[in-house]
Structures are given as structure tokens and as C-alpha cells.
């Protein structure tokens, strides 16, 4: 590794399992020998609001927050939320987009339109872009909650950390009966 910090921004909607994904990532980066910081906001965010979590790793990390314009890896769990954080993108970002739409209240009420073209906008700005139907893949392994682990699997090939460290961490977080589903979700995400 060169002497550089990797900045990962994860965004989506409260309840999508974003915090767990960021917990796994942070532990994995620590395990791989890096300094790590991550930051998120709890509280109101639990109630279906917009959520963002910053994860940074490298030789020495000061700020837990990423500076706007410096995100290296952008993981968006929801299309509209992906567009909300465009100003955070660095010059050559890797972007993973979950192809899922969740209507915010004003759209549900029919007062505002859901923005179109998230995937096109993001793929134009990305150096590497991957759109992932994570919800379909999660349903394929039999648990819609595994959307977050599918996306984590999709991230793995972009980072210099062995698959084993990831899967061991995932196994440590789930009770026995949920381990198989989540490992399958991770694997499906990896090959997505």
C-alpha cells in the first residue's frame, strides 16, 4: 500500500443495514493492519431518514469525516440518496449502486417527483461503476435483510483485503442459523 488514506462513503436510508456494513468494514480494516476511523449519526436517522456513514483507513487517519470531493469508494444503498452526496465524490471514484428506490415522504404523497437517471449520472462520474440489484439477490438467498451483505460482497474485489478476513468477520456477527444465508449473500455480491 502507498501512504494514502482510502475514503469510503456509504449512504442510504435508515433501516437498510448500513451501520452493520460499516462495522464489518472497520473491523476488517483493523484486522488487515490499518488505522481506521468511522463516523455516523444515530438517533433521528433510525426513523427512515437519510443516513450516511464515513469509513476511512490507511497508515494514520486523523479526521473520522471525509472531506467533500475526496471519496474514493462510494456505496449507495438507494438511488435518490446516491444523488444527494455527489459533491463528496473524488476525481476517480469507484461507485457501487444498489438498484433500489425508496420513496421519500414528498414523493409518496405525490408532491415531488423521484429523480430519474441515477445510474447514468453516477456511471458518468465513476472511474469504475457497478449497478447491483441487491434486493433481488438477497431475495434469491432467501432473506431480504441481506441486501447489505450482498453489497459488501460487491465491494470486496475493489479492496486489497483477502476474502477470508471478510467472511470470518461476517460469520462472527451472525447466529449459526443466519450464517449460511449471509455467506451466500456475500458470494452473490462478489460475483455480481
Amino acid at each position: 500500500m502507498d501512504n494514502k488514506i482510502t475514503n469510503i462513503l456509504i449512504v442510504g436510508v435508515g433501516g437498510q443495514g448500513i451501520i452493520m456494513v460499516s462495522e464489518i468494514m472497520a473491523d476488517v480494516f483493523l484486522e488487515a493492519g490499518f488505522d481506521v476511523k468511522k463516523s455516523e449519526v444515530h438517533g433521528m436517522a433510525q426513523r427512515g431518514g437519510s443516513v450516511s456513514t464515513h469509513v476511512r483507513f490507511g497508515p494514520k487517519v486523523f479526521s473520522p469525516l471525509i472531506k467533500e470531493g475526496e471519496v474514493d469508494i462510494f456505496m449507495a444503498f438507494e438511488e435518490l440518496e446516491a444523488l444527494r452526496y455527489l459533491h463528496y465524490l473524488g476525481p476517480k471514484p469507484t461507485i457501487l449502486l444498489n438498484r433500489q428506490r425508496l420513496n421519500p415522504p414528498a414523493v409518496s404523497l405525490g408532491n415531488e417527483a423521484y429523480p430519474e437517471g441515477a445510474a447514468e449520472i453516477l456511471s458518468r462520474r465513476a472511474e469504475k461503476f457497478k449497478g447491483i440489484p441487491a434486493r433481488d439477490l438477497a431475495l434469491q438467498v432467501g432473506d431480504v435483510r441481506a441486501v447489505n451483505i450482498v453489497l459488501l460482497g460487491a465491494l470486496q474485489p475493489f479492496l486489497p483485503i483477502s476474502e477470508k478476513i471478510w467472511t470470518e468477520n461476517i460469520l462472527s456477527r451472525f447466529p449459526a442459523q443466519a450464517q449460511k444465508v449471509n455467506l451466500e449473500a456475500f458470494e452473490l455480491g462478489r460475483s455480481a
Binding site: 438517533g43 426513523r47 479526521s63 473520522p64 472531506k67 415522504p105
Partner: protein, 597 residues
């Protein structure tokens, strides 16, 4: 050596620090961003931890433990310090026997708060020292240091966190707990602990002398440290701001303050004299800046950094470098907002849909139900602080007299009511307010993540406890008319509310139904409902409930000849919890429970 490096949040680290430094008693009332401190204390068997009814009681009981010579930790969010301010100011006079650390978690940017007061002012105001950690390692270490200083200088010590410390994770080196601290015992010392004027007059000079001693101590306190870099720019900073500044200006010289009150004046003078331009980077108030200015030293602070909101690396870069690199994006700026919202199946929704329909003036309080403010419910007219709903409604009643009758209602959650609503209700009963109070009893402290309180029947450790009977309590306070309603039964609940708000006497309605996220109880079925698109007229009555599971689908008016609707409602089966409210408000019987299809 049994040392282990793990990732901890600032709050987890404070709890670990309490464990490693022999804390015996810990107390808190939940409040974002401080809640997880006590939730994590729970794991350490040697510490008695409790959810107190409010922050004042928490601090008073922590103080009692320290009077016995035990080490105590009391945690709260910034506005909790307002509630606990009364004991805090006089505890500064009494001092303690065991160490006491008061952790306050400030919320710059108001991620989940009603104001962004800067707790450092309390340290100065109450004349107590304050430490401020910059990451989780320091959050743990400073908790122990605070307890040592507390005992050494016979003073409570404040530890200030902020959202970005409390809710960020960084690497912490764990240690085993230190050798056991002194055994608590009863020791009478009335001249020190009985703050009658005669005794307190003798204690005040002790406080002033202590602050002088602490100021001298601050000069050599190792956590007030200089990191020399270039001498062109010198930065005085503390807390999370230190990390942002190091991130964007690593080459500068730093005076990093671990103790933000009292300040090390000689150290500041010597640092200032050796750099060309001096900055202070601090969240919220110009607390350090004003004190440095008062020393006659030129310094740039709030002229370069915002007074409102939290600092970020970009804002610190802008302030230090003097130009604006803040990127903006037109697409990002023009998106529909996604505010937090009451959950599908939330028991508060029914009450607010009725209050909204009745167009009442609703004095609100602090909790999930404050979200009743948002459209389409738009049914909260005031929200100030814990317990304010009742006093506010009583004041409206006394100012407006008969004009207010039938138009004003107060709403408060069960946890908030027990925190600081009881005295408000006592006032209402005692002074004959013609006010109706609705207690939204969802059997938990929902907004902060479902903590127990005296009305749930369980303690912090999950042990069974006496469960306050809200009906009996309201009656004991002097309210004659107390009704219990089921908020999932809209028509019956509406009848009760209509009758009670017109009553020219104090009355209480208790809306009883567990939080839909409760792990203990469940009353909604979870079976989703569906909307028959043939029967839906597009009247939007269900949409006015503001349920995230119901959405509007636009239709072309010209298609399907005869029908004039502009669109129809649709239920997201994954989100619907089967609470039946939409079924109840639909006049066209278009909404039904799914029958296995």
C-alpha cells in the same frame, strides 16, 4: 500484559474507561448522542448502572455515591446538563470524597437536538475543570484522568464529548482494571456537605483557590501538549476540531488542549510568541478564543470559522487557508428531502391524524412524536424542552381563558412525562388549568433506541422493577378525569379527545400501545394490507396519515373512460405493519387485509 486493540465508539470508550478506573456507580437519562455510554456500562458487572428518571436525579445519585467515597460516572446530553445544573453548581462547592465525572455529549449541528449549546460554558460557570477528548482512546483515558483529577482537587470534573466523538469509532488499546479503589464508607462531614449559607460562604473561597491550583496544574498537564511544526501558523484546538485541523494542515504547529477549562495561560503565551499567525479551531462558541483575547493575544477564531453548526474538515480548511474549496453539486441540492418519519404502524400516528383533523393547537414535547410536526400530519405547534408541553399549554390557557377551551392540547411521551412532566401536571391540577394532556404511552424511550424507564417495569439491566401506574399517578396529582384510549381505534379515540378538550377542567388521556419496534410486546399483526385499485377513488384520505408504507401512483386522467381520479394509493407490502389505520380512514372500503394472496 493483557493488551488488546479494538475499535470503539467514543461512548463505548467512556464506558470502558469507567470500568478500567474502578467506577462503582453510573447513572444517566438517555439522550442522543450520549445514550450508549450507560448501555455499554451494563456489560461491566462490577458497576451499578441505572437509567435515572432525569439528569438531575442521575447527578444527585452519582454525587451520593461519591460522598460515600466511591467513584461515579454520570452521563447526559448537553441539554441534560441544564436539568442537572442545580446540583452541579453546588457540588462545585461541596466537592466529593470519591471521584465523579460528569460526561456531557454536545450535539453541534443538532443532528438530534433542539439547540446546540456549548457545554464548555458550564465548566466556567460552575467553576469546575473540563477535559475534552479528540478520539476514542482519549475518551477512555480522559475518563480515568477526570476521576483522578476529581479526587486530587476535590471537585466534580466534566468530560465534554460531541456527536463526532461519541458516534465515531477509532482504535483503542484496552487495559485491565486498575487495582481496586478505596472501599466506600459512611463518613460524616457536615461542614463540607451541608450547604447552609454559613458553610457555603466558607466553601466559596475554597472553590476559587481550587481553580487557581487547577490553572497552575494545567500548565504542566501532559494532555495540554505542543506539537511543533512550521512556525508560520500556530493552532490552538481541542476535541474533534484537532483531528480536522491535523487532517487539512498537518504542517502547522499545534497546542492541543486536553483540558479546555481552566486554560494554561503561560503555555498559551509561550506558544503564541513562537508562531507568526495564531488560530483557534473550536466547535460552537468562541470559548477558548475569548479567553485568549482577554490575555491580550491576537488570535483568529470565529472570524474564520462558523459559529453555527458543526465544523467539518472542509470548513476548517476554508478557515485556515482563507479560500473556499467547498464543492457543491446542483443535482444534490435539488432533491426531495428525506426527513426521519414515524414508523409504519407507529401508535402515535392515529393520535396525530385526529389532532390534525381537529386542527387543534398542539403543545409538543421531546421524542419520536415530535415528528408529528412534519407534513402531512403537521400537528405539533410547539416543542421546546423535556416537559415543556404541559406548562406551555397551561400558559396558553391562562392567557387566553375561554378562548383557548377546546382548541389546545398538550402531548408528551411516557418517558418524557416521567422525566419532567409530573411537576407540570401538578401545576395544571393545582392551578385548575382547563387543559387536556395526552400521554403517548408507548412503554419505552423510543427516540433514543428504546431504553427502559420507571414506567416500563424493567431496569437498565433488564431486571423487573415496580412499574409506575400512569392513571393512578395522574389521579394522585389531582386530575379527576383520566381516560385510557387505544390509539389504533380511531373513532373511539376521537370521541374521547373531542369530549376532553372541551372540558373546563384538567384532564388526562393516556394513549396506550407499545412502540411498534418494541422487543417485548406487539399489538399490530404485521400482516400487510392492500388497496383494491378498482375501489380506490384517489381521495388521498389514507395518504394524509403520513405512513411510509402508503404511496401515491399517478394515473392518466383520460384513460379508463368514466373514471376521473388523478391517481390512486398503493401499499408497500414490505413496509406495512398491518396497523389498520388506513382501513379505518378509507370511506370506500378499498383497503383490506391481504388474504394470503
Amino acid at each position: 500484559m493483557n493488551e488488546k486493540r479494538i475499535l470503539l465508539s467514543g461512548n463505548e470508550a467512556v464506558a470502558r474507561g469507567a470500568y478500567e478506573s474502578g467506577v462503582k456507580v453510573a447513572a444517566a437519562y438517555p439522550g442522543t448522542p450520549s445514550t450508549e455510554i450507560l448501555e455499554n456500562i451494563r456489560a461491566y458487572k462490577g458497576i451499578y448502572g441505572e437509567w435515572s428518571p432525569n439528569e438531575k436525579v442521575a447527578l444527585e445519585m452519582g454525587m451520593g455515591a461519591a460522598f460515600a467515597g466511591a467513584r461515579a460516572l454520570v452521563a447526559m446530553k448537553h441539554v441534560g446538563v441544564n436539568v442537572a445544573a442545580d446540583p452541579l453548581f453546588t457540588m462545585s462547592y461541596t466537592g466529593l470524597r470519591g471521584g465523579l465525572v460528569l460526561v456531557t455529549a454536545d450535539d453541534p449541528e443538532m443532528h438530534s437536538s433542539q439547540n446546540e449549546q456549548d457545554s464548555r460554558n458550564y465548566a466556567k460557570f460552575a467553576k469546575v475543570p473540563m477535559l475534552e477528548p479528540s478520539d476514542s482512546q482519549e475518551a477512555k483515558d480522559f475518563t480515568g484522568l477526570a476521576l483522578e483529577l476529581s479526587e486530587r482537587f476535590d471537585t466534580p470534573v466534566m468530560l465534554r464529548s460531541t456527536t463526532r466523538i461519541s458516534h465515531s469509532k477509532s482504535i483503542v488499546l484496552l487495559k485491565e482494571p486498575a487495582e481496586q479503589t478505596a472501599e466506600p464508607k459512611l463518613v460524616k462531614d457536615p461542614l463540607k456537605f451541608v450547604m447552609l449559607p454559613g458553610n457555603a460562604r466558607k466553601r466559596h473561597p475554597v472553590v476559587e483557590k481550587r481553580m487557581e491550583d487547577l490553572s497552575r496544574f494545567a500548565e504542566t498537564f501532559p494532555e495540554n501538549r505542543i506539537e511543533w511544526g512550521e512556525n508560520k501558523i500556530g493552532i490552538i484546538t481541542s476535541g474533534i476540531s484537532y483531528q480536522y485541523a491535523k487532517e487539512v494542515k498537518p504542517e502547522a504547529s499545534y497546542l492541543k488542549l486536553g483540558m479546555v477549562y481552566p486554560l494554561p495561560q503561560e503555555l498559551i503565551r509561550s506558544f503564541a510568541s513562537r508562531v507568526e499567525k495564531l488560530f483557534v479551531v473550536e466547535d460552537l462558541d468562541p470559548f477558548i478564543e475569548e479567553q485568549v483575547r482577554a490575555m491580550g493575544i491576537a488570535i483568529t477564531g470565529k472570524a474564520a470559522f462558523p459559529l453555527c453548526g458543526e465544523l467539518t474538515p472542509a470548513l476548517v480548511a476554508k478557515g485556515l487557508k482563507g479560500f473556499s474549496p467547498l464543492p457543491v453539486d446542483e443535482i444534490s441540492r435539488n432533491l426531495p428531502a428525506r426527513p426521519p418519519i414515524m414508523c409504519p404502524g407507529c401508535p402515535h400516528r392515529g393520535i396525530f391524524s385526529i389532532l390534525s383533523k381537529m386542527k387543534l393547537y398542539v403543545t409538543g414535547d421531546i421524542g419520536c412524536y415530535t415528528l408529528g410536526f412534519l407534513p402531512p400530519l403537521s400537528a405539533i405547534d410547539t416543542c421546546v424542552c423535556m416537559g415543556a408541553s404541559i406548562g406551555n399549554a397551561l400558559g396558553l390557557d391562562k392567557a387566553l381563558g375561554k378562548e383557548a377551551l377546546g382548541k389546545v392540547v398538550a402531548v408528551i411521551g411516557d418517558s418524557t412525562f416521567l422525566h419532567s412532566g409530573i411537576t407540570g401536571l401538578l401545576d395544571m391540577a393545582y392551578n385548575k388549568g382547563a387543559v387536556t394532556l395526552i400521554i403517548l404511552d408507548n412503554h419505552t424511550t423510543a427516540m433514543t433506541g428504546r431504553q427502559d424507564h420507571p414506567g416500563t417495569g424493567f431496569t437498565l439491566r433488564g431486571e423487573e422493577a415496580f412499574k409506575v401506574d400512569l392513571v393512578k399517578l395522574a389521579k394522585a396529582l389531582g386530575v379527576k378525569h383520566v381516560k385510557v384510549v387505544n390509539p389504533y381505534q380511531l373513532a373511539a379515540t376521537e370521541r374521547v379527545i373531542k369530549r376532553e378538550v372541551k372540558r373546563p377542567e384538567p384532564s388526562v388521556i393516556i394513549s396506550q400501545a407499545p412502540c411498534v419496534l418494541s422487543r417485548r410486546e406487539r399489538v399490530v399483526t404485521g400482516k400487510p394490507f392492500f388497496i383494491n385499485s378498482e375501489l380506490c377513488t384517489g381521495c388521498r384520505a389514507c395518504l394524509r396519515l403520513g405512513c411510509p408504507a402508503i404511496m401515491w401512483v399517478k394515473e392518466n386522467e383520460n384513460e379508463d373512460g368514466g373514471k376521473k381520479r388523478k391517481g390512486r394509493a398503493l401499499i408497500d407490502h414490505f413496509l406495512c405493519n398491518g396497523c389498520t389505520l388506513c382501513e379505518q380512514v378509507c370511506k370506500f372500503s378499498a383497503i383490506k387485509e391481504t388474504n394470503g394472496q
